[in-house]
Protein backbone atom coordinates (compact mmCIF):
# COMPACT_ATOMS: atom_id res chain seq x y z
CA UNK A 1 0.00 0.00 0.00
CA UNK A 2 1.21 3.48 -0.82
CA UNK A 3 2.60 5.34 2.14
CA UNK A 4 3.55 8.81 0.98
CA UNK A 5 1.28 10.98 -1.13
CA UNK A 6 2.56 14.27 -2.48
CA UNK A 7 0.53 17.37 -3.11
CA UNK A 8 0.15 19.08 -5.54
CA UNK A 9 0.73 16.66 -8.40
CA UNK A 10 2.19 19.44 -10.53
CA UNK A 11 3.47 22.91 -9.80
CA UNK A 12 4.54 25.68 -12.17
CA UNK A 13 6.25 28.79 -10.86
CA UNK A 14 8.39 31.67 -12.07
CA UNK A 15 12.13 31.68 -11.46
CA UNK A 16 12.88 33.37 -8.16
CA UNK A 17 9.62 32.32 -6.52
CA UNK A 18 9.41 29.80 -3.69
CA UNK A 19 8.03 26.31 -4.28
CA UNK A 20 6.22 24.42 -1.55
CA UNK A 21 5.45 20.73 -1.88
CA UNK A 22 3.60 18.59 0.63
CA UNK A 23 3.67 14.92 1.54
CA UNK A 24 1.25 13.00 3.73
CA UNK A 25 1.70 9.47 5.00
CA UNK A 26 -0.37 6.91 6.84
CA UNK A 27 1.68 4.94 9.36
CA UNK A 28 4.36 5.82 11.90
CA UNK A 29 7.77 6.43 10.44
CA UNK A 30 11.43 6.33 11.41
CA UNK A 31 12.34 9.04 8.93
CA UNK A 32 11.06 10.83 5.84
CA UNK A 33 13.23 11.64 2.85
CA UNK A 34 12.90 13.84 -0.21
CA UNK A 35 14.42 12.91 -3.56
CA UNK A 36 14.66 14.71 -6.90
CA UNK A 37 14.45 13.07 -10.29
CA UNK A 38 15.43 14.84 -13.47
CA UNK A 39 13.69 13.65 -16.61
CA UNK A 40 14.85 10.20 -17.64
CA UNK A 41 17.33 9.87 -14.80
CA UNK A 42 17.61 8.14 -11.44
CA UNK A 43 16.64 9.73 -8.15
CA UNK A 44 18.99 11.91 -6.13
CA UNK A 45 18.65 12.19 -2.37
CA UNK A 46 18.01 15.73 -1.15
CA UNK A 47 17.33 15.68 2.55
CA UNK A 48 16.31 13.36 5.40
CA UNK A 49 14.32 14.32 8.46
CA UNK A 50 13.94 11.98 11.41
CA UNK A 51 10.71 11.41 13.32
CA UNK A 52 12.01 13.35 16.33
CA UNK A 53 12.93 16.39 14.23
CA UNK A 54 10.58 19.17 13.19
CA UNK A 55 12.61 21.17 10.70
CA UNK A 56 15.82 20.84 8.69
CA UNK A 57 17.64 23.09 6.26
CA UNK A 58 20.04 22.35 3.45
CA UNK A 59 21.02 25.26 1.24
CA UNK A 60 17.83 26.54 -0.39
CA UNK A 61 15.83 23.59 0.92
CA UNK A 62 13.73 23.61 4.06
CA UNK A 63 11.87 20.52 5.22
CA UNK A 64 9.33 20.34 8.02
CA UNK A 65 7.77 17.31 9.62
CA UNK A 66 4.57 17.18 11.65
CA UNK A 67 4.20 13.66 13.01
CA UNK A 68 0.86 14.47 14.65
CA UNK A 69 -0.59 15.29 11.22
CA UNK A 70 1.59 12.71 9.46
CA UNK A 71 2.75 15.28 6.97
CA UNK A 72 5.88 16.93 5.66
CA UNK A 73 6.61 19.89 3.44
CA UNK A 74 9.54 20.72 1.21
CA UNK A 75 10.22 24.38 0.51
CA UNK A 76 12.61 25.43 -2.22
CA UNK A 77 13.44 29.11 -1.93
CA UNK A 78 14.49 31.39 -4.77
CA UNK A 79 13.80 28.72 -7.36
CA UNK A 80 15.90 28.35 -10.50
CA UNK A 81 15.16 26.83 -13.88
CA UNK A 82 17.54 24.01 -12.91
CA UNK A 83 15.15 23.05 -10.10
CA UNK A 84 12.72 21.77 -12.75
CA UNK A 85 12.31 18.09 -11.91
CA UNK A 86 10.05 15.60 -10.17
CA UNK A 87 10.22 15.50 -6.39
CA UNK A 88 9.39 12.40 -4.36
CA UNK A 89 8.91 11.91 -0.67
CA UNK A 90 9.85 8.53 0.74
CA UNK A 91 9.05 7.18 4.16
CA UNK A 92 11.01 4.64 6.13
CA UNK A 93 8.82 2.79 8.62
CA UNK A 94 9.81 2.03 12.18
CA UNK A 95 12.70 -0.46 12.38
CA UNK A 96 11.69 -4.00 11.71
CA UNK A 97 12.44 -7.03 9.61
CA UNK A 98 10.78 -5.58 6.53
CA UNK A 99 11.32 -1.86 6.94
CA UNK A 100 11.91 -0.48 3.47
CA UNK A 101 11.53 2.91 1.87
CA UNK A 102 8.16 3.58 0.23
CA UNK A 103 7.98 6.30 -2.40
CA UNK A 104 5.07 8.53 -3.30
CA UNK A 105 3.92 9.35 -6.84
CA UNK A 106 5.97 12.50 -7.05
CA UNK A 107 5.37 16.17 -7.80
CA UNK A 108 6.35 17.66 -11.13
CA UNK A 109 7.89 21.09 -10.63
CA UNK A 110 8.37 23.43 -13.58
CA UNK A 111 10.34 26.61 -13.03
CA UNK A 112 9.84 29.12 -15.84
CA UNK A 113 12.87 31.29 -16.68
Amino acid sequence: SQQGEEDPQALSIQEGENATMNCSYKTSINNLQWYRQNSGRGLVHLILIRSNEREKHSGRLRVTLDTSKKSSSLLITASRAADTASYFCATEPLPGANSKLTFGKGITLSVRP
Partner: protein
Protein backbone atom coordinates in the same frame (compact mmCIF):
# COMPACT_ATOMS: atom_id res chain seq x y z
CA UNK B 1 27.57 11.74 -7.75
CA UNK B 2 26.85 8.15 -6.76
CA UNK B 3 29.03 5.33 -8.08
CA UNK B 4 26.24 3.12 -9.25
CA UNK B 5 25.91 2.13 -12.87
CA UNK B 6 23.25 0.57 -15.03
CA UNK B 7 23.53 -0.87 -18.50
CA UNK B 8 22.09 -0.64 -20.98
CA UNK B 9 20.52 2.81 -20.62
CA UNK B 10 18.00 2.09 -23.36
CA UNK B 11 16.82 -1.23 -24.76
CA UNK B 12 14.30 -2.05 -27.48
CA UNK B 13 13.61 -5.75 -27.93
CA UNK B 14 11.00 -8.08 -29.34
CA UNK B 15 8.52 -10.14 -27.37
CA UNK B 16 9.85 -13.43 -26.05
CA UNK B 17 13.49 -12.39 -25.80
CA UNK B 18 15.54 -13.01 -22.69
CA UNK B 19 17.22 -9.92 -21.30
CA UNK B 20 19.47 -9.05 -18.40
CA UNK B 21 19.68 -5.55 -16.97
CA UNK B 22 22.98 -4.89 -15.27
CA UNK B 23 23.54 -2.92 -12.09
CA UNK B 24 26.90 -2.39 -10.40
CA UNK B 25 28.06 -0.22 -7.53
CA UNK B 26 31.56 0.50 -6.30
CA UNK B 27 30.62 1.77 -2.85
CA UNK B 28 30.69 -1.61 -1.10
CA UNK B 29 27.01 -1.29 -0.22
CA UNK B 30 25.33 -4.40 1.16
CA UNK B 31 21.75 -3.44 0.31
CA UNK B 32 20.63 -3.22 -3.30
CA UNK B 33 17.20 -2.66 -4.83
CA UNK B 34 15.37 -2.82 -8.15
CA UNK B 35 12.44 -0.49 -8.76
CA UNK B 36 10.05 -0.31 -11.70
CA UNK B 37 8.74 3.12 -12.64
CA UNK B 38 6.26 4.00 -15.37
CA UNK B 39 6.48 7.59 -16.73
CA UNK B 40 5.18 10.12 -14.23
CA UNK B 41 4.38 7.46 -11.69
CA UNK B 42 5.69 6.23 -8.37
CA UNK B 43 8.48 3.73 -7.88
CA UNK B 44 7.51 0.15 -7.19
CA UNK B 45 10.01 -2.11 -5.42
CA UNK B 46 10.30 -5.39 -7.32
CA UNK B 47 13.41 -6.99 -5.79
CA UNK B 48 15.93 -6.33 -3.06
CA UNK B 49 19.01 -7.89 -1.54
CA UNK B 50 20.67 -7.36 1.81
CA UNK B 51 23.89 -9.11 0.88
CA UNK B 52 25.55 -11.83 -1.16
CA UNK B 53 23.26 -14.81 -1.81
CA UNK B 54 20.31 -12.93 -0.32
CA UNK B 55 17.43 -11.90 -2.58
CA UNK B 56 13.80 -11.10 -1.84
CA UNK B 57 10.74 -10.14 -3.87
CA UNK B 58 9.44 -6.65 -3.36
CA UNK B 59 5.98 -5.20 -3.05
CA UNK B 60 5.12 -5.37 -6.75
CA UNK B 61 4.77 -8.78 -8.33
CA UNK B 62 7.29 -9.17 -11.11
CA UNK B 63 8.13 -11.90 -13.57
CA UNK B 64 11.79 -10.98 -13.37
CA UNK B 65 14.47 -12.69 -11.32
CA UNK B 66 17.64 -11.39 -9.68
CA UNK B 67 20.89 -12.78 -8.36
CA UNK B 68 23.52 -11.51 -5.94
CA UNK B 69 26.71 -13.48 -6.34
CA UNK B 70 29.00 -10.52 -5.72
CA UNK B 71 28.45 -7.55 -3.43
CA UNK B 72 28.86 -5.03 -6.21
CA UNK B 73 26.66 -6.69 -8.81
CA UNK B 74 22.85 -7.14 -8.84
CA UNK B 75 21.57 -8.13 -12.30
CA UNK B 76 17.88 -8.44 -13.15
CA UNK B 77 16.73 -10.98 -15.74
CA UNK B 78 13.53 -11.32 -17.74
CA UNK B 79 13.34 -14.82 -19.22
CA UNK B 80 10.70 -13.90 -21.79
CA UNK B 81 10.00 -10.21 -22.28
CA UNK B 82 6.46 -9.00 -22.97
CA UNK B 83 5.05 -5.57 -23.90
CA UNK B 84 3.72 -5.28 -20.32
CA UNK B 85 7.36 -5.18 -19.16
CA UNK B 86 7.88 -1.87 -20.94
CA UNK B 87 8.97 0.54 -18.23
CA UNK B 88 11.94 2.22 -16.60
CA UNK B 89 13.97 0.06 -14.23
CA UNK B 90 15.95 1.79 -11.50
CA UNK B 91 18.66 0.19 -9.41
CA UNK B 92 19.62 1.60 -6.00
CA UNK B 93 21.95 0.74 -3.15
CA UNK B 94 22.65 1.73 0.43
CA UNK B 95 25.10 0.81 3.13
CA UNK B 96 24.06 -1.23 6.17
CA UNK B 97 24.31 1.74 8.50
CA UNK B 98 22.87 4.22 6.01
CA UNK B 99 19.31 5.32 5.49
CA UNK B 100 19.42 7.06 2.11
CA UNK B 101 19.50 5.28 -1.21
CA UNK B 102 21.79 5.98 -4.13
CA UNK B 103 20.24 5.46 -7.54
CA UNK B 104 21.66 4.51 -10.89
CA UNK B 105 20.59 6.38 -14.04
CA UNK B 106 18.00 3.75 -14.96
CA UNK B 107 17.31 1.48 -17.92
CA UNK B 108 14.42 2.35 -20.23
CA UNK B 109 12.99 -0.86 -21.66
CA UNK B 110 10.63 -1.04 -24.61
CA UNK B 111 9.27 -4.44 -25.55
CA UNK B 112 7.63 -4.58 -28.95
Amino acid sequence: EADIYQTPRYLVIGTGKKITLECSQTMGHDKMYWYQQDPGMELHLIHYSYGVNSTEKGDLSSESTVSRIRTEHFPLTLESARPSHTSQYLCASTGLAQETQYFGPGTRLLVL
